[in-house]
């Protein structure tokens, strides 16, 4: 499955591990939020990198105490019309200052990428869009009306010289 981040295809050392499965020592794994919270005290002691896969109805606030130490948060889009992930991303980036990788997984299509990027998602795990189309989608609009997590300067500031 191609992973696209920072404008290029990227190797992906991370594996998502289902709740029932054991985490082996060493390696890079993401687990569901509930498992992460339950096992957080023990995870820190292991020679294993553990990230979180957020479901649409997860409350990102529960992750706040751990954000400094997490390298990867995956936001799952079960259907591409389910827009909760955009709010989760904005909260993580703008309110809670998460600086690690924020990756969209699930039903990820080219036509969400522009909005995802603006919400602070910086990696896209997608079978449905290749690198050229993702790069094109990222530049689909050269101006934006709102501030966002993607850092684009909104037109209401540009109009007045900032």
């Amino acid at each position: 499955m191609p992973l696209i981040k920072h404008g290029a295809e990227s190797d992906d050392p991370w594996d998502y591990v289902e709740d029932e499965a054991e985490l082996s020592d060493g390696g890079y794994f993401t687990v569901r939020l509930s498992r992460f919270l339950a096992e957080a005290p023990t995870l820190a002691d292991r020679n294993t990198r553990v990230g979180v896969r957020l479901a649409s109805d997860d409350d990102v606030e529960e992750l706040v105490p751990y954000l400094q130490h997490i390298q990867l948060i995956e936001i799952d889009f079960p259907k591409y019309t389910d827009g909760r992930g955009y709010s989760q991303a904005q909260l993580l980036r703008r309110r809670y200052g998460y600086t690690g990788e924020l990756r969209a997984v699930g039903h990820v299509l080219r036509d969400q990428i522009f909005y995802m990027n603006r919400s602070g998602i910086d990696a896209y795990d997608t079978v449905r869009a290749d690198l050229p189309s993702v790069l094109e989608a990222l530049k689909e609009f050269s101006e934006v009306y709102q501030p966002g997590a993607g850092g684009q300067v909104p037109v209401f500031r540009k109009r007045h010289g900032s």
Binding site: R95, Y115, G148, R159, H160
Partner: protein
Amino acid sequence: MYRYDEFDEQIVRERVAQFGGQVARRLSGELLEDEFKPLRLQNGVYLQMHSYMLRIAIPYGQLSPRQMRQLARIARDFDKGYGHFTTRQNIQFHWIALKDVPEVLGLLADVEMHAIQTSGNCIRNTTSDHFAGAAQDEIKDPRPWCEIIRQWSTFHPEFAFLPRKFKIAVTAAETDRAAIRVHDIGLHMRQRGDTVGFEVHVGGGQGRTPVIASLVNEFVPEDRLLDYLEAIMRVYNLHGRRDNKYKARVKILVTELGEEEFTRQVEAEFASQKPHEKIDLPREEIDRIHAYFARPDFPARPEVSDTFEAAKASDAGFARWVKNNLHPHVTPGYTSVTISLKPVGGTTGDATAAQMETVADLAETYGFGDVRVTHTQNLILPHVALDDLPAIYAALVAAGIATPNEGLITDMIVCPGLDFCTLANARSIPVGQAVQQVFADPDYQEDIGRLHLNISGCINACGHHHIGHIGILGVDKKGEEFYQISFGGRADEKAAIGDITGPGLKSEQVPSALKRVIDTYRNLRTSKDEIFIDTLTRLGHDPFKEALYAAD
């Protein structure tokens, strides 16, 4: 009115290119129909009974003559010569070919128009008082804030895939002509000392579960408005139901959480916004947008116009039209004119290309270049001199749009119904026409006075039947169309949902049954000054129900 600068222009042009690409990817099979659907909907392209329909945004219902002429051109070159003005102050074309849509979007972009977010589960066109900037009773012109909301909501990255569609309406007048209490968010401009702000109502709506909005905040200062809207939208986006499309509107979230808990969540989210999360619209930008809406310089006119008075005295048709279709203007010697799109026997809200061009010419010659679309599907010239009314009337008569029925029983809201719409269960247009016939006599209509009669062809309530003083809802019972009548709805500042009277009527029974109701009202009213809804409120529904179901 607002004019695009290079940024607005760029965004709309890029949208045209983007949609062209999406259509191409759909045609090549790269996009599945299920995946294309939300994209085309967010660009106003619906699949209707007979063909694709294109819905074009008319922000807060305002058009320039140049834009109106372009709509006429689109009607003529790409449709069957007419367009349909909608209850959300937009226009839709029912006979557009999908392959032509990108070209039409290009023509729209040429006149600073678009079809962005006219459908789909996103923030739709912001609607407002059609007399904004002209009305005597507004505290300020609400349109600048509508434009600010338009820009903020356009391609908002967080709120493009909401649980369901989302509609915002703004008014600044005590008399609510924008039906704000039946919108997802209704904003009422208020003034406290020197500060302008908004009373915020959330969770109103029609459809199969009609709800009057809850008052969530009595006063949000204007410079905090967008941040407050973001808080509401985030609570809704995260917590609105997504398991059932019929329970996905924000009204259901407000109802299920309760007004108090919903308000608490919004206030908590608002309070949690960190300084760098605030939109913090610069004062220069607020002022820049307001400058576009400065009131025109109205040349001084005498309060009484001799030309106007003489025409009234000599032309009974003119006298009747001005009696019904004018609205008081803030400047002496001026008035606002309603151009009714409800001729008896016509299709509500339809206008031909030639009629659109007539309206554009009149707006240019006499109307300070300003046309409005009302949510009741009429057109308005908001600023005209009394002196010019005879000439305007003559042109409207020639164009067939001088029906003198604004606010009367034949000025109905009617959805397209089973004749056009795939959702409908019953026809609306023919029933509306049959009801109009019964009340067609101009003296009779005038005697009945102000009365809102609205018709929907299914429970989705596009014809606003819940908020008509009299509402008619078409339902299908084992293949036969029936019409449920409701009484007591209203869309104004005393907004209420109508009560269903009882069993549905067959379509042919509807006109005579309503005539009995109306004649009962005429017998029971204290005077002609007591309009139908007031008599109904005073006496209760029983006498009218009895009349409705009396034998023919």
